[in-house]
């Protein structure tokens, strides 16, 4: 998709600005471009769904919305082979460690999309005794897709935003998102896991 058609995310604009400040080496820069082209165009989701949003995710794969157009249809059931988790649905207390473990099992580079109001804030169940109020305390989130549940179009837009975000990453030299992720992991440790 043309970059200009899509210039509506201040956060990414700011990120690009920051990265451009220091300048990049030609070779490293073009290698980065190649890698990011590969990564951003090949996003394989983990089959992970807890509730209603998961059904919309199924619709996303079906003929009408067909996420295969973007190459996202290779949904892997094993977290080792997936690139991002679409947290589709409510995360409750009992599920939180499972989600965290799934996240830890993903191979780098890994991304998280919080899909639907339950994953973002707890949604209609925010006041419940057994619901996590948003998943950002459990895993670092890259993209939020609001809705209850979000329409498949919104999900497509969300994954596109993720793909844009990956495009401005740096693999060699400077590190941007990775740093944030590391910071998150040190502030939210899990005991008994050395990895």
């Amino acid at each position: 998709m043309p970059y200009e058609a899509f210039k509506d995310n201040e956060y990414i604009e700011k990120l690009v600005q920051q990265l451009k400040e220091n300048g990049t080496n030609v070779i490293v820069g073009s290698l980065d471009k190649l890698i990011n082209w590969g990564r951003s165009n090949s996003l394989w989701p983990l089959t992970f769904a807890t509730s209603c949003c998961g059904i919309e995710f199924v619709s996303l794969g079906a003929a009408r919305f067909d996420m295969a157009r973007f190459g996202w249809e290779v949904a892997r059931a094993s977290p080792r082979q997936a690139d991002f988790i679409m947290v589709a649905g409510t995360i409750v207390n009992r599920m939180a460690p499972v989600l965290r473990r799934l996240y830890d099992q993903l191979a780098e580079p890994k991304y998280v999309i919080a899909c639907g109001s339950c994953a973002i804030s707890g949604g209609p169940f925010r006041k419940s005794y057994h619901v996590a109020r948003g998943i950002e305390d459990i895993v670092p989130v890259d993209v939020y897709v609001p809705g209850c549940p979000p329409r498949p179009e919104a999900m497509i837009y969300g994954i596109m935003q993720l793909s844009r975000k990956i495009k401005v990453e740096k693999f060699f030299g400077g590190v941007n998102r990775q740093e944030k992720q590391r910071e998150f992991l040190t502030t939210h440790p899990v005991e008994g896991v050395e990895d």
Binding site: G54, N93, R94
Partner: protein
């Protein structure tokens, strides 16, 4: 109805029979087990189907109300047992009378801390072992933080036995035999249709025992509802069984309207029933698709989703959403149907038979599909009733349990449709029953689509809705079985207790029973054919 009441009064002089629409019998705990056996086995009662167990906290006492139904006489009653001990509340279990009671009582134990003497498996059902407090008690104020630490796991379960001298002894029982090869399936697994977890003891490819873990999507809807006014509780119905959103909405609206004495217009009734049947078709379509996908025929999913998308379009035009419609409201429906509604429904009715034919051609007649499904996961009629397996799964075992026929609500009694039953009781029968139910739903739609009467779509209801003091129990037919709603009101604007009895909980409870001795691949076939929705069972 009066017969069995008289009989109970004669047999158990201590029992007090209430005057509600569904009579509730109060009985002292020590006579409860005898009453249970009498209710099940007596020729005049034959209460062999346990609809649900409602745990209750009346602040001065804790207790449980067992709602029973007779598959023979089609009568309903409730049995109330209470205990005033809040520290270590104990009641006698009915797990040996109705098999599903084991699961229901675990739920009550989880929410209220009531120990059931004689229940073979007294573990928490939805919450983790280390959970502090019992959340549905009125005085629950514990804080349980969300933790990312792995949950503690126990391989033993407790059971409480009453000794001859009246003392109760706790005994630890191992869940699995020592040395068994236990494979953990779930909670994140493509086959479990959501976040359900099976600990499966296998011998090679053969399944020896399954231990079901739930609660990975337990959101505490019942507790949340206690803090909300009646109209505010409605949106949660969309988020339980999200395929039966309309049916569940319909059920709760019916229950509240019945309690408040609201009479809704015929137009609203017709629209509600049409929406119910549309969602039934959509739900069964998705069932066929995901089931075939579980069996490896991925392409079917895309064919069935085509019809589902068409139905979602119809609903979206009227309700404004694809999944969480929030359409039925107290007094009728939220807004009038879209101008294209009738045209769209007719278009759907035209393509549906062709599509069903196509599905049968691609999948049902396939020799591999036949081999995979026929004779796999046999469930007898007696077990179906005892395990409270309702809906298409129960009907496939020969139990006519369609609430639209047994306890006709709304305008179902006027409609001409057939209750589909099969006698095989295997996965193929469950699959075929759903296939044919789609045709029946289409028949209902065809009867109604040209007969939507004029009138208001929503009658006037008081802005602040208060229900009189009392308790009401309603059962409606969701897409997956009987959905029970229990409302207890203390006269205020909020329900004192709103218990939702979903059909999927017993469906998960029966998995262990029907998978024993079959292959791992059959677990997928059986689980798929039962078609449970995990957020529905967990609530």
């Amino acid at each position: 109805m009066a017969d069995f009441q008289e009989k109970i009064a004669k047999l158990f002089p201590d029992a007090q029979i209430g005057s509600e629409e569904v009579p509730v019998i109060s009985i002292p705990d020590n006579q409860w087990h005898d009453l249970a056996i009498a209710l099940r086995d007596d020729e005049d009662c034959k209460m062999d189907y346990l609809v649900t167990v409602v745990g209750m906290d009346w602040t001065d006492s804790l207790g449980a109300i067992y709602y029973l139904m007779s598959s023979k006489y089609n009568t309903m009653c409730g049995v109330k047992v209470t205990t005033s001990d809040r520290e270590r509340p104990m009641l006698h279990s009915a797990a040996d009378v109705w098999k599903v009671a084991c699961l229901y009582e675990r739920e009550v134990y989880d929410f209220f801390g009531i120990i059931f003497i004689g229940n073979p498996d007294m573990r928490r059902l939805f919450l983790s072992i280390d959970w502090k407090g019992y959340p549905l008690r009125k005085d629950y104020a514990e804080v349980n933080e969300v933790s990312v630490e792995n949950e503690r796991q126990s391989d033993t379960t407790d059971t409480y036995i009453e000794l001859p001298d009246g003392k109760v002894e706790k005994k630890e029982v191992a869940v699995f035999e020592p040395g068994e090869f236990v494979v953990n399936i779930g909670p994140q697994h493509p086959a479990t249709h959501g976040v359900l977890r099976f600990r499966t003891a296998v011998d090679g490819e053969e399944i020896k025992k399954i231990d079901v873990y739930m609660g990975y999507i337990h959101r505490g809807i019942e507790k949340l509802c206690e803090d909300l006014t009646y109209p505010q509780t409605l949106p949660f119905m969309d988020r339980m069984d999200y395929f039966s959103a309309h049916n569940y909405h319909h059920g709760l609206c019916l229950a509240i309207e019945k309690a408040a004495g609201i009479q809704i217009s015929r137009r609203a009734e017709v629209i509600r029933v049409m929406m119910d049947e549309l969602s039934r078709i959509a739900s069964h379509c998705l069932f066929i698709g995901t089931y075939c996908m579980d069996l490896g025929a991925t392409t079917m999913l895309f064919y069935t989703l085509r019809v589902r998308e068409q139905i979602l379009d119809i609903m979206e035009k009227t309700c404004g959403a694809r999944m969480t419609f929030n359409y039925d409201c107290i007094g009728g429906v939220m807004q009038d149907i879209a101008p294209d509604f009738q045209k769209d429904v007719k278009a759907l009715l035209e393509v549906l038979p062709k599509n069903i034919k196509e599905y049968n051609k691609i999948f049902t007649g396939n020799v591999i599909a036949k081999n995979r499904m026929e004779g796999v996961g046999y469930l007898s009629r007696e077990d179906a009733i005892s395990y409270a397996v309702t809906g298409p799964s129960g009907r496939a075992s020969g139990w006519a349990c369609d609430m639209r026929k047994l306890h006709p609500y709304s305008i179902y009694s006027e409609l001409d449709f057939e209750e589909i039953t099969a006698t095989e009781g295997d996965s193929m029968a469950r699959f075929k029953v759903r296939m044919r139910e789609m045709e029946e739903s289409a028949k209902i739609l065809a009867q109604l689509v040209d007969n939507i009467p004029e009138g208001e779509y929503c009658v006037k209801v008081p802005k602040v809705l208060k229900l009189p003091v009392g308790r009401w129990f309603t059962v409606v037919e969701g897409c997956r079985g009987a959905f029970g709603i229990y409302i207890e009101s203390d006269g205020s604007t909020k329900p004192y207790r709103l218990k939702l009895a979903p059909p999927c909980l017993p469906l998960a409870g029966v998995v262990d029973h029907i998978t024993r001795g079959s292959k791992i691949a059959d677990l997928i076939t059986i689980g798929g054919s039962l078609d449970y929705i995990v957020p529905d069972m967990d609530r």
